[in-house]
């Protein structure tokens, strides 16, 4: 059975650690933009168009898509495509872009240099996209309806390239990672739709400025879907973090223990070349590996063992029934040397977890004990569990010697 149930409304959670725009400024600018758009949509003159594009750019700068690497992509890039497609690159267009983008970036909490670079980047994107648009339009000539799409596509491609280059220059994630982020394609496709909708083909059939409103919807949908995804991801990660600090609050491990084990094991796993998914499972396993310890009695029966194997067993007991946590549970079991069916990558991950836990057991977050902790871990290498793999121990040694990872404090 099917139903046309779309995604629920966007659910933004507050992120007080990283405010991008002051709410009062954002509201004021958005309100001004809305008024300008409302007035201009009923105006046919050049100034009406300038006002609408300016308003759309401001709103687009204020509304950003959260990307998977934590950086953001403003929706204004979609508006740039119809802007260069619908107007000759005259002074009015340049003034629009300059004023709108400047107004928007001034509202940001970022260094002055970054704001200036942002304005410059937008100007460069517009200039190059306009060149691409007019060049392809000239080349495509009278190619009919299919060819009419090419200039807008070229403009969108150039804008995308400028965005990626700017991100790379500013160190906002790698080019490779950004290139694969679907949000870029959604924004670029919206830009092409806006351009075609605005100007039509050969000057006929366009819906004019309404195109910005109608085809902003796909870009806004992408923003909304990504926003919701990041909200639940943040809630999920923070819930795992909460569970990771419970054993230390209960006095079962040292403060910051699970976080340090997670950082050392993930660094080791990365050194071993584990995949992104394996690293995510490894981090969750490390954060939760001591959770089972809180189920133990404070005053156990005499002779009741309380070693890592027992803690791991108790942790596996509370994790293993869940589908998404079954792999972390397997890694915890493998870490303790329990019989568990693991593939090669999981064996390495379990080894990294065992090595990190062993290292942390001795180092305890004290940098001065790092060498002793490493030596103890390597010495224990032949004693069973995943610690016996030389590749794991070599990776741990490189992590410890190359990075100062032993000084992490407990997180309050």
């Amino acid at each position: 059975m099917t139903a046309h149930i779309s995604i629920a409304p966007p659910r933004r959670v507050s992120d007080p650690g990283a405010p991008r725009i002051r709410p009062d400024v954002a509201v004021a600018l958005a309100a001004a933009a809305g008024v300008a758009a409302a007035v201009a949509l009923t105006t046919t003159g050049d100034w009406g168009r300038v006002a609408v594009y300016g308003a759309a750019l401001v709103v687009g700068e204020l509304l950003v898509v959260e990307l998977t690497d934590g950086s953001t992509l403003p929706l204004s890039f979609a508006v740039l495509v119809p802007l260069v497609a619908g107007a000759a690159l005259g002074p009015a267009t340049l003034a629009t872009v300059g004023a709108a983008v400047t107004a928007a970036v001034l509202a940001r909490h970022s260094p002055l240099l970054i704001r200036a670079a942002t304005v410059g980047g937008r100007g460069l994107a517009v200039a190059l996209a306009w060149a691409a648009f007019t060049g392809v339009e000239h080349l495509a000539g009278r190619g009919g309806r299919p060819a009419a799409l090419l200039p807008a596509m070229a403009a969108a491609a150039v804008i995308l390239a400028v965005v990626l280059a700017e991100r790379r220059l500013r160190g906002l994630g790698s080019f490779h990672a950004a290139r694969g982020d679907a949000a870029f394609f959604a924004v670029a496709a919206s830009g092409v739709l806006m351009a075609i909708g605005a100007i039509g083909v050969a000057g006929r059939g366009g819906m004019g400025l309404w195109s910005l409103v109608v085809f902003a919807v796909p870009a806004l949908s992408a923003r909304w879907a990504f926003g919701r995804l990041h909200a639940i991801r943040r809630t999920y990660d923070q819930t795992i973090d909460v569970l990771s600090v419970v054993p230390e609050m209960a006095g079962r491990v040292r403060p910051g223990h699970s976080r340090r084990v997670a950082e050392v094991s993930v660094s080791t796993g990365r050194m071993l070349g584990l995949s992104k998914h394996a690293l995510e499972d490894l981090e969750r396993a490390a954060l939760l590996h001591a959770l089972g310890s809180v189920t133990f009695d404070d005053r156990p029966e005499p002779g009741t063992p309380r070693g890592p194997r027992e803690v791991a067993g108790a942790t596996v007991g509370v994790l293993a029934d869940e589908h998404h946590l079954s792999r972390p549970a397997s890694l915890v079991a493998g870490m303790a040397g329990n019989e568990v069916d693991l593939d090669e990558e999981e064996r390495l991950a379990a080894g990294a977890l065992a090595a990190a836990a062993s290292f942390e057991e001795v180092a305890g977050g004290d940098p001065s004990r790092a060498r002793v902790a490493l030596a103890t871990t390597i010495q224990a290498g032949g004693s069973g569990s995943g610690l016996g793999d030389r590749r794991v121990l070599t990776a741990l040694a490189r992590v410890v010697t190359q990075r100062s990872i032993v000084g992490h404090r407990a997180r309050s």
Binding site: T2, A3, P146, L193, I196, P218, L229, Y236, L243
Partner: protein
């Protein structure tokens, strides 16, 4: 398939057959547009996403509205009724020979699409063509499509799964702002299609595909988060088996109260997460104290009460729950201490927690009767408890005819020693309170 489902399927199919016949007799005005959007409709269904309630979500409305726009008033019924009908031809169902589903879905979409086309034609935007006029016709048409879709689907889901219709209606509510974007995108797609032809389709499909993939990731993460919460509950119950089922019951009562108070879907979700996590601080309390089958000493009492502060601190570490972190502490969320300050969620959870504490059997006393629990909640409404929350809970339980407490317990742990009915630590009225107090409502140590 049950007999009632067969009859329902037959009725929907017959009606759709009659409607489709009338539509087909009118003749098709634009075969290229019809074929294009029929294919897009099938594609939209093919990449639909399965929802937790068993239904699936797709963007079928986009090609349906686009076709209605592109074929105009003259071809609207072809566009709406028959393009939508193609959406029902779900290839995976055809592969698995689930012909009953295929027939039902196709019939349902024919009727929904025909209804949408009827609204579009009635509003006749072509009389004064402009983008706003078309939007004012296509958006109501899209909402009509959804309304008919849900109205026909809910009875089938209810018959199929043997659950009340209202459960499905709540999640498939058609008149929601979130559906309007699909109608707007459909209108735009229809417009640019007439200008450029089928080549524009991929540009409209790309953002929808991205949103769909992102939504799938969202559902997977949400499920992972639910599993993490279940892990928390399981860990709690291993520490304190006598409270088995407690946090889930508190979450359920909190939902009842939230529904009575008309909280939004977002706030209900936040309420649920907070209810499931309100006892997380107990994980740092010694098992011996949690399981003590006797009255706690004053020192032990303070050590146990520490879990509330720990819970509040841990909930504050989660952005989504930070605004209602005080839910974990009856001391912070006393009504007379803070008044009717927003948000109401902490008061909701405190009432739900207290009710479950009173109506559950614990090592130190037997469960109270429901009427006693209601009476105590009302007695302390306006001081310890938020009056609206108390009233909402009693109303919701009465309406559902749910009975809890003495004589109605569903989960009773096998105690080593039977808990007392009265006496020290008994009667629920002073679970953790000093020895002389037997009349206070428990501040729920649950």
């Amino acid at each position: 398939m049950r007999p009632s489902q067969r009859w329902y399927l037959a009725a929907v199919t017959a009606t759709a057959g009659v409607v489709a016949t009338f539509i087909a007799r009118a003749g098709i005005p634009n075969m290229e547009a019809f074929a294009t959007f029929a294919l897009v409709a099938m594609g939209a269904e093919l990449i639909s996403v399965r929802l937790p309630n068993g239904a699936t979500a797709s963007a079928l409305m986009v090609p349906v509205i686009a076709a209605i726009y592109a074929l105009g008033v003259g071809g609207a019924y072809w566009a709406g009724g028959l393009v939508a009908g193609f959406g029902g031809l779900y290839l995976f169902d055809l592969r698995d020979r689930r012909f009953d589903r295929v027939v039902f879905n196709a019939a349902m979409y024919v009727l929904a699409g025909a209804g949408a086309a009827g609204v579009f034609a009635a509003l006749d935007p072509a009389a004064h063509p402009s983008v706003p006029r078309f939007l004012l016709a296509t958006v109501p048409a899209g909402l009509t499509f959804l309304a008919i879709n849900v109205a026909l689907l809910v009875p089938m889901l209810a018959l199929d799964q043997g659950r009340p219709r209202r459960e499905f209606l709540a999640s498939l509510s058609p008149f929601h702002v979130q559906y309007i974007p699909f109608a707007v995108i459909g209108t735009g797609l229809g417009w640019v299609y007439l200008v450029t032809g089928p080549l524009i389709i991929p540009f409209a499909v790309a953002p929808v595909l991205v949103a769909r993939q992102t939504f799938r990731s969202y559902l997977a993460l949400r499920e992972a988060h639910e599993e993490t919460l279940r892990t928390l509950v399981r860990t709690l119950e291993r520490k304190d088996p006598y409270t088995a089922g407690h946090v889930e019951r508190v979450a359920r009562y909190a939902r009842y109260i939230g529904e009575e108070l008309g909280l939004s879907e977002l706030r209900q979700e936040r309420l649920r997460y907070a209810a499931l996590m309100h006892d997380v601080g107990k994980l740092v309390v010694a098992n011996e104290l949690l399981r003590k089958p006797d009255r706690l000493t004053a020192e032990e009492y303070e050590r146990v009460r520490l879990h509330e502060a720990v819970s509040v601190e841990l909930l504050r570490r989660i952005d989504f729950l930070r605004p209602i972190a005080t839910s974990a502490s009856p001391r912070y969320a006393r009504y007379d201490a803070r008044g009717a300050a927003d948000p109401i969620e902490p008061y909701v959870i405190v009432v739900a927690d207290a009710y479950d504490a009173m109506t559950s059997t614990r090592p130190y006393r037997r469960a109270l009767a429901q009427r006693v629990a209601f009476s105590e909640l009302r007695k302390h409404a306006g001081t310890q408890f938020h009056p609206a929350c108390v009233e909402a809970l009693t109303r919701a339980l009465d309406r559902r005819e749910e009975r809890h407490g003495h004589g109605h317990e569903q989960e009773v742990v096998a105690f080593e020693f039977d808990p007392p009915v009265r006496g020290p630590g008994s009667a629920g009225l002073g679970d953790l309170a000093p020895a002389h107090s037997t009349t206070r409502v428990p501040e729920p140590h649950s």
